[in-house]
């Protein structure tokens, strides 16, 4: 990893208070993030995978400085996003943009594309309005749309085209980092491939970094240089996709891999063990995954495992990581 990372997230914690249920008890809380530390180098991409409730989207919101974390730091290009003044933060936002999941909900139906795409520029002080149209035209071309599309409304576009518009809007400030929260999960398979190829092209062209949040391991594998698997607000395994998916060291990663239906002949049904769903609010002792883990023993239930090195650039939070890595691995698709 190079000298100073583009984004440095350190010990990030986020808690939300639950409504008070009793006059005599203090209100409960949801621990959405429990000490997440990751780094993203310039031009590299980080994928975040996990189930709903694992804290993926909270992580995105805190990194985007849309929420203030309970504890921890988010440093972008050397600036702590939660310590700088609102004015500085507004200017820092040019370096970090977001693409949302639903291309139908994220574009204002009453605004023309030119205005939607130029909106991030209007909040920047140095922007020159007379050049807006030229810049919008340029960025629309980069995402594979036409200049004439500027004067249309969102309803005139298909889902894939709308996601291209959302990407154009993110690109227009020439950001260093784009946070994409499930950018292709609302798209059809054939269109999803087009958008993923576009994201890869843009990364090569502009040296962008992505934080790609997805429940689809194959999408993350395709686009990312590093993957973090989250479970109940913690990173439980982190590493290069080839390490993670071929030699996974955490039983949860393995459960995710095993759960993917494989598109091939003679697939048949593979039985999966029943798994209980853990709660986000309880701060139980021991490993948070222990109640679902087939390998858990007394030690796991008492002592929480720390994220530790299990291979070159490969971290896992499991007491039995070596045992998991020694298991025969899930079959890959050709």
């Amino acid at each position: 990893m190079t000298a100073a990372p583009l984004l440095d997230v350190k010990d990030l914690e986020q808690r939300y208070a639950l409504p008070r249920e009793s006059l005599f008890r203090s209100p409960g809380e949801v621990r959405a993030l429990n000490g997440v530390s990751v780094q993203v180098a310039a031009g590299k991409s980080l994928g975040i995978v996990g189930e709903s409730g694992s804290g993926k989207s909270t992580f995105a919101r805190v990194v985007m400085a849309l929420e203030r974390p309970t504890a921890g730091r988010v440093t972008l290009l050397g600036r702590d996003l939660n310590r700088i003044s609102p004015d500085e933060l507004r200017r820092a936002r040019r370096d970090i943009q977001m693409v949302f999941q639903d291309p139908y909900g994220s574009l204002d139906p009453r605004q023309m594309i030119a205005r939607i795409v130029a909106e991030p520029l209007t909040v920047l002080d140095d922007a020159d309005r007379s050049t807006f149209r030229a810049r919008v035209a340029a960025v629309l071309k980069q995402v594979g749309l036409r200049e004439a599309d500027m004067d249309k409304y969102p309803h005139e576009f298909s889902g894939g085209q709308r996601q291209r518009i959302a990407i154009a809007r993110a690109l227009i400030t020439q950001p260093k980092l784009i946070v994409a929260d499930e950018p292709v999960s609302a798209l059809d398979v054939s269109v999803q491939a087009q958008v993923l190829n576009l994201m890869q092209d843009l990364q090569e062209q502009f040296g962008l970094s992505y934080i790609l949040i997805s429940h689809d391991l194959a999408v993350v594998d395709y686009l990312c240089d590093e993957v973090a698997v989250m479970y109940l607000g913690r990173v439980v395994e982190q590493g290069r996709p080839e390490d993670l998916f071929e030699r996974c060291a955490h039983p949860y990663t393995r459960a995710l891999l095993d759960a993917i239906p494989r598109a091939r002949a003679g697939g048949g049904r593979r039985r999966r063990g029943a798994q209980a769903i853990a709660s986000q609010s309880a701060a139980a002792a021991g490993c948070p995954y222990a109640p679902r883990c087939p390998l858990a023993d007394q030690h796991c239930r008492e002592v929480p495992p720390l994220l530790r090195r299990v291979g070159e650039g490969h971290l896992a939070a499991c007491h039995k990581a070596e045992a998991v890595m020694a298991l025969p691995q899930a079959a890959m698709e050709g």
Binding site: E51, Q192, H215, A259, R264, G267, R269, R272
Partner: protein, 337 residues
């Protein structure tokens, strides 16, 4: 009367559905035919707008009043197409049931889950309130909802997405239907929960000898869960056959395109995904010939002239393409993997 063992449970013949859309009349389904015996499972794959959900809704008699249905849908020999709504009410939730994609919107937020699971029992089986409640608890227990006796009076918002989907499955199964239609039952769920729900559906289908039509855009879900599959595009069936056969030897350029376009786990780094150029056509202005002709890499003049006929390429495996000689030579599919 034909022997019920050999007669198909549901036989769909040349089904066509025309919908009125804001862009004019759209032929959402054209010439769809299939038959399903008791205990058989069929998968429908395709992208949005290919007509798979409209096909399902026409079996359920849930199309809008303005829709024009042609062809025939026979349940145990009884014609269902153009059946008056009052007659359909006796079948829906009784002999044919459906599980919808979004468990939150499929459930009524104002009623307890117990009330909703008991509703088909009260209506079709004329159970008393007490009987229906006991039966609802048994059903909720069967679909794996924890502590059903206690939670039967809870409202949908008090459950997680996976639990809500279990409740909708319990509703669909209440009257032991002959045919279960599952329209993207796991798309809104996490991948680990998806596995559990699909396991549950498979168990119930086996246990009760139901037939199932599973609709999904996910080739993996189809590969693992149904005996036969149909790929739909632009309102027509473009490929159909036993699931293993289709995955072994994909014949239609569209099926091949779908298969190639998926990002695959463990693929070599730096490879690009093979895309299908263009977008899904609008049903209101479909091309005259093959619906896929505008996006097909193998297109010829004769493809655009008329809808290609179904060509048999293997045992019970048919492909609607005039260029199967070229497409099948490409050997797309998961022969060994």
């Amino acid at each position: 009367m034909a022997d019920p063992a050999t007669m198909p449970l549901i036989a769909v013949e040349n089904l066509g559905v025309r919908l009125n859309t804001s862009r004019g009349p759209a032929q959402a389904v054209r010439g769809v035919s299939f038959a399903l015996k008791r205990g058989e499972t069929l998968g429908l794959v395709g992208e949005s707008g290919c007509g798979k959900s409209v096909t399902a809704l026409s079996l359920m008699g849930l199309l809008p009043d303005s829709a024009v249905v042609t062809g025939s849908i026979k349940l145990d020999g009884r014609e269902l197409a153009r059946l008056p709504d009052a007659d359909y009410c006796g079948l829906r939730g009784n002999r044919i049931s459906m599980i919808f994609q979004e468990p939150m919107t499929a459930l009524n937020p104002m009623h307890t889950i117990g009330h909703q699971v008991a509703e088909p029992l009260r209506r079709h089986k004329k159970y008393s309130a007490g009987q229906a409640r006991t039966e609802a608890i048994a059903l909720l227990d069967r679909v794996g909802l924890p502590d059903p006796a206690k939670r039967i009076d809870a409202y949908p918002h008090q459950f997680s997405g996976g639990q809500r989907q279990r409740v909708t499955i319990a509703m669909a199964l209440a009257c032991e239907p002959d045919l279960l239609i599952a329209d993207e039952p796991t798309t809104a769920l996490d991948v680990t929960i998806q596995g559990q729900i699909l396991d549950l559906i498979a168990d119930l289908v086996e246990e009760r000898g139901m037939s199932m039509i599973l609709i999904s855009h996910d080739l993996g879900v189809i590969a693992e869960n149904v005996q036969r599959m149909m790929v739909m595009y632009g309102g027509t069936v473009v490929e159909s056959g036993p699931t293993d056969e289709v995955f072994r030897r994909m014949g239609h350029p569209y099926t091949q395109g779908l298969f190639r376009a998926r990002p695959k786990l463990g693929a070599r780094k730096g490879t690009r995904l093979t895309t299908i150029s263009g977008t899904v056509p609008e049903l209101a202005d479909l091309p005259a010939g093959c619906a896929f002709s505008e996006r097909c890499p193998l297109v010829e003049d004769k493809c655009r002239a008329a809808l290609p006929p179904m060509v048999e390429v293997g045992p019970a495996h048919v492909v609607r393409c005039v260029r199967t000689d070229v497409s099948m030579a490409a050997k797309v599919g998961a022969l060994s993997a």
